[in-house]
Symmetry: none
Subunit: 207 residues, 4 copies
Amino acid sequence: MYRTQRKRREYEARRRDILEAAERQFSRHGFFKTSMAEIASAAQFALGTVYRFFRSKEEIYISIVEAKSEELAALLDTQIAMARTASEKLATFIRVKLEYADRNRDFFRIYVSEWSGFEWTIKSAFGERIWRLYVRQVEFVAGLIQEGIRRKEFRKVDPMDAAFALQGMLNSTMYVWILQPKPAGSLVEKSDLIRTVFLRGIEKSFS
Amino acid sequence: MYRTQRKRREYEARRRDILEAAERQFSRHGFFKTSMAEIASAAQFALGTVYRFFRSKEEIYISIVEAKSEELAALLDTQIAMARTASEKLATFIRVKLEYADRNRDFFRIYVSEWSGFEWTIKSAFGERIWRLYVRQVEFVAGLIQEGIRRKEFRKVDPMDAAFALQGMLNSTMYVWILQPKPAGSLVEKSDLIRTVFLRGIEKSFS
Amino acid sequence: MYRTQRKRREYEARRRDILEAAERQFSRHGFFKTSMAEIASAAQFALGTVYRFFRSKEEIYISIVEAKSEELAALLDTQIAMARTASEKLATFIRVKLEYADRNRDFFRIYVSEWSGFEWTIKSAFGERIWRLYVRQVEFVAGLIQEGIRRKEFRKVDPMDAAFALQGMLNSTMYVWILQPKPAGSLVEKSDLIRTVFLRGIEKSFS
Amino acid sequence: MYRTQRKRREYEARRRDILEAAERQFSRHGFFKTSMAEIASAAQFALGTVYRFFRSKEEIYISIVEAKSEELAALLDTQIAMARTASEKLATFIRVKLEYADRNRDFFRIYVSEWSGFEWTIKSAFGERIWRLYVRQVEFVAGLIQEGIRRKEFRKVDPMDAAFALQGMLNSTMYVWILQPKPAGSLVEKSDLIRTVFLRGIEKSFS
DNA sequence: TATGAATGAGAGTTCATTCAT
DNA sequence: TATGAATGAACTCTCATTCAT
């Protein structure tokens, strides 16, 4: 039993090593220009070993996106639970997402791609899984907006449309920051602007 | 001279044919999954002929982006010139860009990629040209915002940050619309939401 | 038109070159141990060039079998047409097939495999095409036997069973001869035995 | 001593388990398309364990052929010893071999390959061992024919040539039967035809 | 100028075999 | 002794680019 446990832990550790190496390579050269040989070598494994953990390159890519999405989702759940009003919840969402991107710069190189220009080049089954993850997050935001409308905090807007717009502001902001070779200052600094613009945009009255 | 002119016109026509064919293919299968043979065949040219007009596949890709960017820039210049206040100018910007995306759905499959997840997979020299095009448009918007601040229409926000945020809202909205297999309704319908949210977000007082 | 004709001829010539090289390699090392790189190199072409002519390795294999099968079938038709009695026709069949094997030793290394141990390792679609070719030849022989029975030359035997048995005698004989590193004497010499044994086996009376 | 004996028995049992599993897999997917992992898993052993019993995949393949050959040889010896005339002995040979194939359909998928199209794909040393097994059986039959000639039962034919021809008839018949997805009737039924044809072919006078 | 056959580096993936546990 | 994770050479196939015609 102990032995099985230990084996399992080691397996998970190796799997994580590969994912981290792949994340690094993908973020540097993109999905298509990163070869399995590069990933293996960056993870300090033989090529064949990588295939013990992942069926294909696409499987690696999607595993990265899924893992990070779940981590972020958990983070959001915890933090947002502590906010009262819908406005506060949205403000928390904005801040936590930007903080997370700040700490996971490599990954967000890919995550931004998640919702743009990537998935139709990948076998549709995979593309779909990623798209679903994205939509889930947007729906989560739409729920917060909906709640705010019900509570008369926000004006009557289409929650999904507004949620997509907010995601766009965040992603665009993140993207700009990510592309800068030497990012000047932290990404979190930008959260003020986005919060102010978006909340003023949908709130009924202003503080 | 006349003959040279005609030749030049024919050359340009062929070049455009190839770009249009490539645009179609790229938008369907993505940059990496589109082969030069496909482009040539879609443009009704021999493979070798394509190479008489473009040095490489990347050259084609960037040429598409440049051509469309210029077309859109020209359109924006004309239309915005007719607006008075900064608010009106931004509203025009939002409307014209969405209208243009509406009419160029194929291209925007790629254009959205322009500012996300694509360019670092392409030789940096090319990536840079595309990035510059993007920044130029953002600077154009930042200029409009700057002007609004000067005229006391807008609150004091960082013009570039605000401009990037607006681009993000637009791109995100476009992206969602583009991904729908059968786009329900026109993209222009969404311009109301974006205009309201963004302008309310940065305006000093509200109409 | 002339140019097209010439191109076509050159295309066919290259195609034949590849088939001949592949035949040589297959017969030496077997289907699975022969790599496309080997075939290309033996045919004096670059690896990619081979793929201009054949979609896959299996496509090459089946093309060889088909080409030879057709050649042999044509030969049999011509020669058998000149025989009168069913016995003479069967004798001709035996002789022509052995002569053909004598002249196409390399190929028959593969052809014998055609009806043994090979096809279930190959994608069934291909296996089927080969199996059909084999059955067609057996049916041809069964037709000759049937005719002999009708003419009262042969005893009443199941024509297909008898035809399979004859093919077996021929293939086995061929196989033995093929496997000998330095074949002692010609294969045709063996046709006397097979003819005598088989015809005595099914004829009503004996000359 | 007892303990050693038991160990030996267990060793042999494991070895046999592996051979049986391999036989099943080979007959289903062919030699090359069967992986060692499949064999191990089918035999309910770990991959590494298989290598404790057999040096290589080829070693397994040849071991199967050898085991079956010996089993068949023993069977033939016993049964043929009970026959008197050479004709009867040959008839017994035909019947026993077909019966054996009937009971060992899986194996004969491979055994037919034994004498066709397979061995030159395998390292020659192995191919030779198999070839020797085959020749030994043919020589056995040739001996029976020789005896028949000496006893004036058969006409003067080349015993080896005739033996190869008989093997061919048998193998071809077996092959056809094996390839049928749902074998109609038993293989033994076909022995009448082969016996009649072959014996009439070589006998001096007819019963 | 236009062509498209030829090229070959490089991709993703498999699997027989080894060896530390 | 039994295990199965690790290995990496070898495979089939793709496609951007070149260049003789």
